[in-house]
């Protein structure tokens, strides 16, 4: 390898290291900050040696599960977006924007409200909803190949349609919906250890599958014909990778609701910094997704303290202008 290649590789690893530091910093801040601020030293001591003080209660029962849920949600949404952007060959693809989250959300809310006894099946059902939404979007957008703008338009339509059904259910069952509004914008306020254990397995599986898929994602960037002639069965790869993206989005939606824009912003920033090679984009997106959501959630708790905003509002404030910027630049 020549000097430039060596330099590039080193730069990419440096960026990944920066992402790791940001993610660790985000997690630490998220545990420290809130209505009751706790110093970093205390946080580390409490994590190391739990006791029975109030601060311990706050950290172990409230802050830590919330931080971890946020971290895993961030990783899953960012990975889902990174995969969708390559699979749909669309820089604007994001599980929220193209309606996959809405599919997961509708399925999830049906379980949550109509059959609360089957809450255990929340994520698998949300996954089916996400896959169904993805299939509908493909069908609507497919006409002699995939055109980026058509996917976005189909996604907006599907999203609006599913969103209307969700709103209808929420109104119809308004007595049963506690915190449904929070769920609609995406929030971590009620996160518990149960959420952490609900999402963690999917993060592990999703990360492993995306790592395997990185090479396929790189090939898809060469265009369908070239990828096919290099031996990739393009339809199969697309279906499999879409399923992974849907699984990741569905698990995130199951615990945090319809949190948008993470899957749009994070892969873009990562791509800007480490380049277009998915062998780096995948781990980079997962780690930077952790940093983004933990930091945003911390900000959401501090901006109007002692009241707190749902993290989804912060993400929308950052994400919507970012989306418009990309729309002007890339489509």
């Amino acid at each position: 390898m020549n000097r430039e290649g060596c330099y590039r590789t080193r730069w990419r690893w440096l960026m990944l290291a920066v992402f790791v530091l940001l993610a660790l910093g985000g997690c630490l801040l998220s545990v420290m900050q809130g209505v009751a601020a706790i110093t970093p030293a205390d946080v580390l001591q409490i994590l190391w040696q739990p006791s029975a003080r109030t601060a311990d209660q706050i950290i172990w029962n409230i802050r830590l599960p919330r931080t971890l849920t946020g971290a895993l949600v961030g990783a899953n949404l960012a990975l889902s977006g990174a995969i969708l952007q390559a699979v749909m060959r669309n820089p604007l693809a994001d599980p929220h924007i193209i309606g996959i989250s809405a599919g997961a959300g509708l399925a999830g809310i049906v379980v949550l409200i109509v059959w609360p006894a089957y809450l255990f099946w929340m994520t698998p059902v949300a996954f089916i909803g996400a896959m169904a939404a993805a299939a509908v979007i493909y069908l609507l957008a497919w006409k002699d190949g995939i055109v980026p703008v058509r996917i976005i338009l189909a996604g907006v339509a599907v999203s609006a349609f599913l969103g209307a059904i969700i709103s209808g259910i929420l109104i119809f069952y308004s007595d049963r919906v506690h915190g449904a509004l929070l769920w609609m914008v995406g929030g971590l306020a009620a996160s518990s250890w149960k959420d952490v254990t609900a999402i963690a397995p999917y993060t592990v599986i999703g990360l492993a599958l995306s790592a395997v898929g990185a090479y396929y994602l790189n090939l898809l960037q060469l265009g369908d014909d070239m990828a096919r002639s290099l031996g990739l069965s393009v339809e199969g790869a697309r279906l499999g990778l879409s399923a992974v993206a849907a699984l990741l989005a569905a698990s995130a939606v199951s615990v945090a609701g319809l949190l948008g824009f993470v899957g749009l912003i994070v892969p873009h920033i990562v791509r800007l910094l480490v380049g277009s090679d998915y062998r780096y984009i995948i781990p980079g997106s997962a780690i930077f997704g952790v940093a983004t959501v933990t930091l945003s959630d911390t900000a959401a708790r501090l901006i109007l303290a002692p009241a707190e905003l749902p993290v989804g509002i912060i993400m929308a404030f950052i994400g919507a202008p970012f989306f418009l910027f990309l729309l002007r630049k890339e489509v």
Partner: protein, 258 residues
């Protein structure tokens, strides 16, 4: 000489249009075959059908004795490498990484890059003369160099047959000839069967062993350039007047007249 690819009664439809009508042709092994014909006559469709990228409505396409449809996608890509007319590439991919993608047909799910892969990539980059640019990113390369990098991808694929769809179209004359010289060298040095769609009948005349002339989705004729590229036939197919002239160094060429 054995045939590398035998096509019989091939019919390809796209939507309601029939692009190839009952098309039969045999492409000889180890030769450079040029396909020429007017725009829209089905040249690209033919190459894509041969490489199973678009379905055939009927007819058979055989590699040696075996139907192409019986190969898995990966197995087929070990038999045939294909360069599309236009191709996307992320601007920041290095030549070496791009050429490495040519090794995909030999990859197993969990295996990393083997010594064999690395050697194949090095040989391919060397064959197209891009050793000095191996670590360079694609967007810093000129059009001619980018095209050579793509040829290296095909060589890394290590398939006995190369199909190329207008590999010279976006290049200036000098680089067009460099690519064709390179194809000739690859044909002779690597014993590859090469099937190339060309626009310039004079290039077909100079570089090809065999010429396939197509018009309106049907075969007009096939044979050595001197036998098939006659002024009468070129008038029939392209509606242009041509003449065969002898140059001062004793070679011949086709000139297109007003």
């Amino acid at each position: 000489m054995a045939d590398a690819i035998t096509v019989q009664h091939l019919v390809v439809r796209r939507g309601r249009r029939t692009i190839l009508h009952n098309f039969s042709v045999a492409l000889p092994k180890g030769k450079v075959t040029a396909i020429i014909g007017p725009n829209g006559c089905g040249k690209s469709t033919f190459l894509k059908a041969v490489n199973c990228m678009i379905p055939a409505a009927s007819g058979s396409i055989r590699l040696g004795q075996r139907e192409v449809h019986d190969f898995s996608r990966k197995a087929l890509s070990r038999e045939m490498a294909f360069l599309t007319q236009t191709h996307d590439v992320p601007p920041d991919v290095t030549v070496r990484d791009l050429v490495g993608m040519g090794r995909f047909p030999y990859r197993r799910l969990w295996s990393g890059r083997s010594r064999e892969d690395r050697d194949a990539v090095d040989r391919a980059i060397q064959a197209v003369g891009l050793e000095a640019y191996a670590g360079e990113v694609m967007q810093h390369l000129s059009g001619g160099e980018q095209q050579r990098a793509w040829l290296a991808v095909l060589l890394a694929q290590d398939a006995p047959i190369l199909l190329l769809d207008e590999p010279t179209t976006y290049l200036d004359v000098h680089h067009q000839l460099r690519i064709l010289d390179l194809l000739r060298r690859i044909n002779e040095g690597w014993q590859k069967t090469i099937v190339v769609v060309l626009h310039d009948m004079n290039q077909a005349w100079q570089y090809a062993d065999e010429v396939v002339i197509m018009k309106d989705g049907a075969l007009v004729c096939t044979g050595p350039p001197q036998a098939v590229l006659t002024p009468e036939r070129l008038w029939d197919v392209f509606s242009v007047r041509t003449d065969i002239v002898t140059t001062s160094d004793g070679r011949s060429a086709i000139v297109v007249l007003q």
